[in-house]
Amino acid sequence: MRFGLKRKIIFSILGAGALPLILGMVIAYFQGTTELERVIGGNFQALAGETARSIDLVLSGEIARRQRIASNESVIAALTARNARYRKLERTAIERLLSEEAARWRSGERSLSGPQIGPAQEVLKRFAKTAGLSERPGSHATLHTLFLTDEEGALLVSLHSDRFPAYRHADQEWWQRAYGHGKGQTHIGTVAFDDAFGSYVFTLAIPVLDESRQRVLGVLQSVFDAKEFFRPAIHPIRFGQTGHVMLIDSRGTVINCPILPTGVRVNDTALIRSVTAEEPGWVKAAGDGHGGQAASIIGFAPLPETSATTRASTGLLWHTFAWQSSQELFAPTHSLLLWVASAGLLAMGLLGSIGYYAAHRIVTPIRHLQEGAARIGRGELTEPLTIRTGDEIERLADEFNTMNERLKSAFSNLEEKVAAKTAEVRALKEYNEKILNSLPDSVVILKQDRTIEYINAEATKVLQSQPASILGHSLFDLLSVDQPTQRQLEWEFDHAQLTTASRLDPWEEPRLMQSRDPLAPTSGGTAEDIRRDIRIGARAFGHRFFRVSSGNGATRIGLALREVTSERQLQDQLIQAEKLAGMGTLTAGIAHEINNPLFVIMGLAEAVAEEDSPGATKAFAKDIVKYARHMSSLIKNFARYATPGSAENIRSVDVTQALADALKMARLAHMSDDLTVHTDYAPLPPILARPEEIQQVCHNIIVNAIQAMNGRGALRLSTDHVNGWVRLRIADTGPGIPKAFLGKIFDPFFTTKEPGKGTGLGLNIVYQIVTKYGGTIAVDSEEGKGTTFTVRWPAESHA
């Protein structure tokens, strides 16, 4: 049991609970994170917007205060007075004048000359005092310097006089934009490093207009320290550990930041592009603008008022930018994840515990049941199972108890039954062996590989060996038979294996053995049943194969052998006896055939004795010799035929010769001799047989034919050779055989002659001899027309 029921239940519960739980947690986590980002982003955006407005206010305040200076009467008067001197002069004269004044300024002559400069100087000083502007340039102050130029960009009034500022500013960008060719506009410059102050500064240039406010008289220039100026608006805004607001321009230059130094360029162009839109907003960006690449949320907003001025002045927008480090920013979501995960684990643990408890409740009774069933299986359980769960398991236990009771009663007498059956089987086995060993026939059971599995007592005698020494050996190695018989037996064995069981039904009549009975009816015999005797030494055996199944499904082939030696001897004697019985009729014919020439010889001899003429005597003598020779050959033929056959003289037989010899003899058997004989003999291969028996076959058929024709008619003899068979045909023109008799003519003692005229064995002997040598015989007869016998034997080379 690889996975116990308990484990399966726990896993099922965990599976059912954990999947939705985990899914829910994941959804909650992502939903929460997104929501959090949205809130943070909104807050940052609001913060950036708020900061932008406050910076805007500061800048607007500065601009307003300078515009108040620009509209001061003293300032306008001083500028008007200064500008008046240029009216009378040519351009070159103006340039020369200004060059001289500039040279004097650089050489250290720090006093600025001109009508009404004093009151204007006073205005600037007063403003500087209220604005907290230091007299010394470069100190940590928001405003580094403040000065006034005329319409030619030449310095008119300055808070400082120590090498600063430069005397002429007409070629400066801020001056040209603020002057605007006399039209003027407020200018806010870019943040840039100023060597004179050693810090990043930006300029604010305000045009001073005349009283009609039509024409620009000069420019009021202020230089602010970028870091110090925005510090009060930016630096106090801190949240968390790292959260802060910064001010950048749309090129990415940091104008003010509590962390980054002013003037640093943020190189992340993608980030800069996403946070310098013209409308306030927030983004979730891949970089934080502070060197990190972690995801961060950035809120941003352009300065609403100032941006218009900076855009007009430099093409740049100024943005505030609220940022917090991603680590700190996402800390709440990380802790959310942690919480959710912890809750999930806790839930899993709870589920597991519940599952364990449930599984324990379910499995424990099942375990009891299983142990009980195992004990029933081993036959150990005597007490009924007690499981009180009140559910299906309890009912199952009850069923087990019922089953146990039934089994107990069923098994109680099983052992006696087994013992009885074993004894019965043993008795049956002994019974079978007794029967088989008492049989006069041999029985051998073969496995499919032809080895011997069982052999009965008679068979061991036949094989002349002990059972122990031949079991497991191949039968065909042990049988000492000739080659053709061995081949035939092997073929039959293979055939028996392939044949269906019904073909070799054990209760089928053993036709083979029956047809070998010398006196048994022969009708129904077909070529299929003709099998050779098995000759082992001097003994002859009939045989048949049969199929048996050996209990475990395997098929065995049995071979039954019955000794037919005495039957063969009887058959041989019968064949001989029939021949001798026919000899009586034959003798008369023979006698006639001998007596005729003898009579002639005697008569001629007498004539010779009385004859004096030598010529006539010689003629008589010649005739005498001729007849004597005729007699001699006749007697030889008869003697050959009458010789009883011996068992050993089977040899090659020329069937044509036997047929011709038989014809000569058979003709003598009838007193009428009015036969026309047609012969058609083909060259034949020999067959293996006893020659006198083949002649006997021909003789019996021809005698029958002559008798049927009553000595008158045509006899047609032919031989041929087809497919390894030697065939001979004997046809007569007698009255034919009635259909009713056709099936019986080969039966022993069947005769149509009157009693005493025949033995009734002639054709039966023919049949026996034909089949004895593996041949077949067929009869074809038509009443009134004649009868044809066809006999076939296998040629010697095919035997």
């Binding site: 008369a588 006698a591 001998i594 002639v600 008569g603 001629l604 009428s672 009015d674």
Partner: protein
């Protein structure tokens, strides 16, 4: 024995399918002063006896049994019906007692088995011819 002047004692018809048998029989019978006429088988014999308006006159018929066409048995049966007065002597190679008995019952005068001694043949023929003479006398008187 036959010291009388040579005269014909009677006419004998020899029926046998073998010419040499007929020749030997003729030799014996002619020496004993019998006239011999020959027939090769039964049908030839019947033809000779009944040919035309002037049938051949014979005193005795010496006949074989085993012959082609009409054999001896058939010939004898015919002769006993048509010419009951002519004595028949059978001369055959078949030493068959049953057949001999049956033939004798049919009126055959004698049954000779080849090879027969010359004297025995002549004696039998003489007896037959004499018998025919006697029968003829009975019929004519």
């Amino acid at each position: 024995m036959f010291d009388a002047p040579r005269e014909q004692f009677g006419r004998v018809m020899v029926v046998d399918d073998e010419a040499d048998i007929r020749k030997v029989v003729r030799m014996h019978l002619e020496k004993a002063n019998y006239e011999v006429i020959e027939a090769a088988n039964g049908s030839e014999a019947i033809a000779l006896l009944g040919s035309g308006d002037n049938p051949v006159y014979v005193d005795t018929i010496l006949c074989d049994i085993r012959m082609p066409k009409v054999n001896g048995l058939e010939l004898i049966e015919y002769l006993r019906q048509q010419y009951p007065s002519i004595p028949i002597v059978v001369l055959t190679g078949f030493p068959d007692v049953q057949m001999a008995t049956s033939l004798l019952k049919q009126g055959v005068l004698d049954y000779l088995v080849k090879p027969v001694e010359n004297e025995h043949l002549i004696t039998t023929i003489k007896k037959a011819v004499d018998h025919h003479e006697m029968m003829k006398g009975q019929f004519t008187t």
